[in-house]
């Protein structure tokens, strides 16, 4: 209820748009929805669009890191985009950007995936 998850594709890039709050209660939904899509073996890369994410705590960091490990283990890329100030602060503080690049907008993140392919 408090998080809405929207999945879409751009060629081999799975795009996940999150609206609302990402906490422990909603994190498992994010993991399950993404895994259910990835098992279809259509997508190589993952872009997480956080433009409409209002709130995130360390449970969000956990599910993002989990997806990052999953994509990396299969040789895929994962990027973030459109991170809002409050979420940015949390990510920066916890050093997430040292392993996970973030882009201004969805287009740039998708392009980065294509370059990486």
């Amino acid at each position: 209820m408090s998080l809405s998850i929207h999945l879409t594709s751009n060629q081999r890039v799975l795009i996940v748009r999150l609206t609302g709050d990402l906490d422990h209660h909603t994190a498992s939904d994010v993991r399950n929805r993404i895994e259910a899509e990835l098992v279809k073996d259509i997508h190589t890369h993952l872009v997480l669009n956080l433009e409409n994410l209002q709130f995130m705590d360390s449970s969000g960091l956990g599910v993002i890191l989990g997806r990052y490990k999953q994509m990396s283990s299969k040789g895929g890329k994962m990027y973030l985009c459109s991170v809002q100030p409050s979420v940015f602060k949390l990510m920066e503080m916890s050093g997430l950007f040292q392993i996970l690049p973030t882009y201004q907008d969805e287009c740039s993140a998708i392009s980065a995936c294509e370059v990486a392919s």
């Binding site: 209660h25 709130f55 360390s58 960091l61 916890s94």
Partner: protein, 151 residues
């Protein structure tokens, strides 16, 4: 509001993950009386979310019949928040506070909860006894803000 101003609230709720959002919104609504900045309000919501989530996942291992307790107090512009569970407690508090340490990596925990609390608050005190439970005490002094609305 002078520095002698004092306001207290106490909250008890079922150890259910749907109450994580409720708890942080309730504390934020209580704190709003001090006219905090958006940044301060978000910091408070985040640390409450961290401590309540820990009580539910670690303290009670997601047992829904248990209760989480919050006490919040405003004194002047100082906020004190206590989050308590009567759950399993913490064996080694020093280890628990380490960045990236988590006892539940299988649940994709990041181990950053306490680190975030320490970064966002002025004081973080953990009192815990194995088998008896955990209390996290969080203190923050708010900056004074000019009223933003014409009044």
């Amino acid at each position: 509001m002078n520095s002698m101003y004092r306001n207290v609230m106490e909250l008890t709720f079922s150890s259910l993950s749907e109450n994580e959002a409720f708890a942080r919104i309730a504390v934020a609504a209580f704190i709003s009386q001090l006219d905090p900045s958006l940044d301060e309000l978000n910091d408070i919501k985040t640390v409450v979310s961290e401590a309540v989530t820990n009580a539910i996942i670690h303290g009670y291992e997601e047992h829904p019949e248990e209760q989480v307790y919050i006490r919040a107090e405003i004194q002047g512009t100082k906020i004190t928040i206590q989050i308590t569970d009567k759950g399993i407690g913490i064996d080694d508090i020093g280890q628990a506070r380490q960045p990236l340490f988590t006892s539940k990596p299988e649940l994709e925990r990041s181990g950053m909860g306490f680190t975030i609390m320490e970064n966002f608050m002025d004081e973080v005190t953990i009192r815990s006894k194995p088998g008896q439970g955990t209390t996290v005490l969080l203190v923050k002094q708010l900056k004074n803000h000019p009223q933003t609305m014409a009044n």
